[in-house]
Amino acid sequence: MTTLPQSTHKKLGLAIDLDICVGCHACVINCKEWNTSNYGAPLSDQDAYGAEPVGTFLNRIHTFEVKAADKPAQTVHFPKSCLHCDDAPCVTVCPTGASYKRADDGIVLVNESDCIGCGLCAWACPYGARELDAAEGVMKKCTLCVDRIYNENLPEIDREPACVRTCPANARHFGDYADPDSNVSRMAAERGAVPLFPEQGTSPVNRYLPPRPKADIQTDGDIDILAPFLDTSGNGNTASGTSSTSAKGLLGWLDKALEAI
């Protein structure tokens, strides 16, 4: 049933510390490894060793530069995966009942044998947390490693999501937000964590712990000491230009024809 539960007994989720994440992508790799070889359809790659590799991932790390006018720029590595929202729009749009939120622990899952691969849930998610697998034609998303956290075949220390278990910097934490004394609830409260993109009204369970304020850095000369010797012109602002926006074929012809009008 794709209606959401009124409330969930537990609210399992992640706390992600943006102050600590070093952007090593180890969580991305361990997530892919665990989730491609365990529950559900594997996370396929296409053209993996070719010129234009693409693949399905459940966890992706963006790296942002944040710059206040009077301060040096700051780098923030930003891991992004499903936030297991209380008001998950991806669940209610599902026409088949494949997407659901569990009433007992709040995990949002996809029943792959019911998924028709229409992609509407991915459209409904503001965070880009769902990806349609090109090989299987079903929607893939973070399961909060549901096949690890309750898995009694694993040593107790491993019963947490693969991304949390592998993080070498301890930037990712797993716990129950319904319990105000849990590790994640206390961290979120101490660090003033806020829900991501609240304008979208999704009530996410996961919390991001914001970067701590930086100590003031003297900028009057000492960190720019090499600047006069470095030619940095013309290559500073191309970070977002990662994919081509020029069209080929019929669209390319249309593009040229419209340019000529």
């Binding site: 049933m1 209606t3 693409v54 710059k67 992004k80 729009p89 026409p95 019911d114 409904a124 304008e199």
Partner: protein
């Protein structure tokens, strides 16, 4: 958003088909027998053709029947349910009209209403999405209904009604574009809001999560064609309204002028529907530093 041909064909053709069915159900035009058969054949070909096209973009179309189950919460499911309901009810009405020369006005009116509800459900698949602010505006369902009714009036041969509806449609489409242009900003659509890092300063993407492309960028960060948006909007308005409207009003009514008007209008519908998808900004692309205000 990626303007996939299957969804453009689906929304455009099924809209025209259900628009025509809505007219046929209230006895416009007043036809029976073979003439009625031709009208209903066109309507069913468009409506069913559109619905079949919509299954082409599914990853697992063999499970499509499951999409009829979640009508309590899902507009996509409701769309399927109402489409099948209206096709069944109109099927009974059409069979009686064509083969028995029997008119069942109540059945026809119910079929017309169901057809319009189907179009409304289609519009809400897009209109409900807060993640696509350009679609998430109150005019979206009115726009889809106006497209369906204009196409229905044109296909059912109601020359002056069609001309009048085209003027209304052009106004609605222009308003939808104009309001749509302001929606992303109104929804707080900035990289600072999306990341929650705005309190620390201006945010830009320093390094993408992946060197190549992916599903998210292909599906929800479509940028080709935006630069031509103004030209395409003018072309779409000329084709879907201005030219066929002038043709209908200024020439003597006849099959040839009607056919040319229909061809022009349908071409305009496709152009406008392509723009509906291609121009729509998805907020998840903000994390990729797309959709910056110029």
């Amino acid at each position: 958003m990626h303007p996939a041909p299957s969804v453009i064909v689906f929304t455009a053709l099924s809209g025209l088909g259900f628009g025509l069915l809505a007219f046929l159900g209230v006895n416009v035009p007043d036809v029976t027998g073979m003439t009625a058969f031709i009208f209903f054949f066109i309507a069913y070909a468009l409506a069913v053709g559109g619905l079949v096209a919509s299954t082409f973009h599914l990853g697992n179309p063999q499970r499509a029947l499951k999409a009829f189950t979640q009508w309590r919460s899902s507009w996509l499911s409701r769309e399927g349910v109402f489409a099948v309901l209206s096709l069944c009810v109109m099927g009974i009405y059409a069979a009686c009209l064509i083969f028995l020369d029997l008119r069942l006005p109540v059945v026809g009116i119910i079929g017309s209403i169901l057809s319009l509800i189907s179009v409304y459900c289609t519009s809400m698949i897009y209109g409900q999405l807060k993640t696509v602010p350009r679609w998430n505006q109150p005019l979206t369902p009115f726009l889809f209904l106006a497209y369906a009714q204009t196409g229905g009036a044109l296909l059912s041969g109601q020359v002056y009604l069609a001309a009048g509806l085209m003027v209304l449609l052009m106004i609605l489409q222009y308003a939808h574009w104009t309001i749509g242009d302001t929606r992303l900003a109104a929804a707080g659509g900035t990289i600072e809001a999306a990341t929650g890092l705005g309190h620390l300063g201006k945010v830009r993407l320093l390094e993408s999560p992946h060197s190549g492309t992916n599903y998210l960028l292909r599906e929800m960060a479509y940028e080709v064609g935006r630069k031509h948006a103004v030209k395409l909007r003018v072309i779409a308005l000329l084709l879907l309204g201005f030219l066929p409207c002038a043709l209908l009003v200024l020439t003597a009514p006849g099959h040839l002028s009607a056919l040319v008007a229909i061809v022009l209008h349908v071409a305009g519908v496709f152009a406008a529907r392509w723009l509906f998808f291609a121009e729509a900004e998805h907020v998840q692309a903000l994390y990729y530093d797309r959709h910056r205000a110029a």
